[in-house]
């Protein structure tokens, strides 16, 4: 598959451990945030989202935390599995004219069996 990024920050975790992936966003006026997962050779897939009026949201094995004070977003993956190995992107909605999302550079998660 294609190489998503040759120089991405990489997080390496042991299978079964919890993973935390961090993201700093740029615009204090952003009102909606999303985490995407991208596996090799595939398009990014939606994982979880959060609106700016919340500071935490949980899904199945994933939790997103939002700290608006420091413009920080994190994705927590519980009991990480080999299938979680991928590149993870955060995205923010800045409320621009085209309703475009602005993407972070991505973090590569590698899960060791």
């Amino acid at each position: 598959g294609e190489s998503v990024g040759l120089h991405l920050p990489t997080l390496s975790v042991q299978e079964g451990d919890n993973s935390i992936i961090n993201c700093a966003y740029s615009n204090s006026a952003s009102d909606y945030f999303i985490w995407y997962k991208q596996e090799s050779g595939k398009g990014p897939q939606f994982i979880i989202d959060i609106r700016s009026n919340m500071d935490k949201r949980q899904g199945q094995r994933v939790t997103v935390l939002l700290n608006k004070t420091v413009k920080h977003l994190s994705l927590q993956i519980a009991a990480t599995q080999p299938g979680d190995s991928a590149v993870y992107f955060c995205a923010e909605n800045q409320g621009n004219a085209g309703n475009m999302l602005t993407f972070g550079g991505g973090t590569r998660l590698m899960v060791k069996p």
Binding site: G43, P44, F46, N93, G98, M100
Partner: protein, 112 residues
């Protein structure tokens, strides 16, 4: 991906030739986007559309044009392909400003 398809999935073309990539959606979403993804650059917006015949430029629009004559189709054209346009191209659709994108599976374009 559900509701959005890109074609072709892979293409090799020669420098100087025109190329058109197609994005087709069955979700009736208003917003459609074309991105390119390159190592070290992440996802970069080429063009977007906010309705039929309503399009605008993104951050890397030089050398690209788009058309949207129907809600379901968003075409990206490279007028005269160059080697710097070798990339993976993703189309995305969005329902509204408080929903995420749904991405297509991508088109891998190689310009030789």
């Amino acid at each position: 991906d559900a509701g959005i398809t890109q074609s072709p999935r892979h293409k090799v073309t020669e420098t100087g030739t025109p190329v058109t990539l197609r994005c087709h959606q069955t979700e009736n979403h208003r917003y459609m986007y074309w991105y390119r993804q390159d190592p070290g650059h992440g996802l970069r917006l080429i063009h977007y559309s906010y309705g039929v015949k309503d399009t605008d430029k993104g951050e890397v629009s030089d050398g690209y044009s788009v058309s949207r004559s129907k809600t379901e189709d968003f075409l990206l054209t490279l007028e005269s392909a160059t080697s710097s346009q070798t990339s993976v191209y993703f189309c995305a659709i969005r329902e509204d400003r408080v929903s995420g994108y749904t991405f297509g599976s991508g088109t891998r374009l190689t310009v030789v």
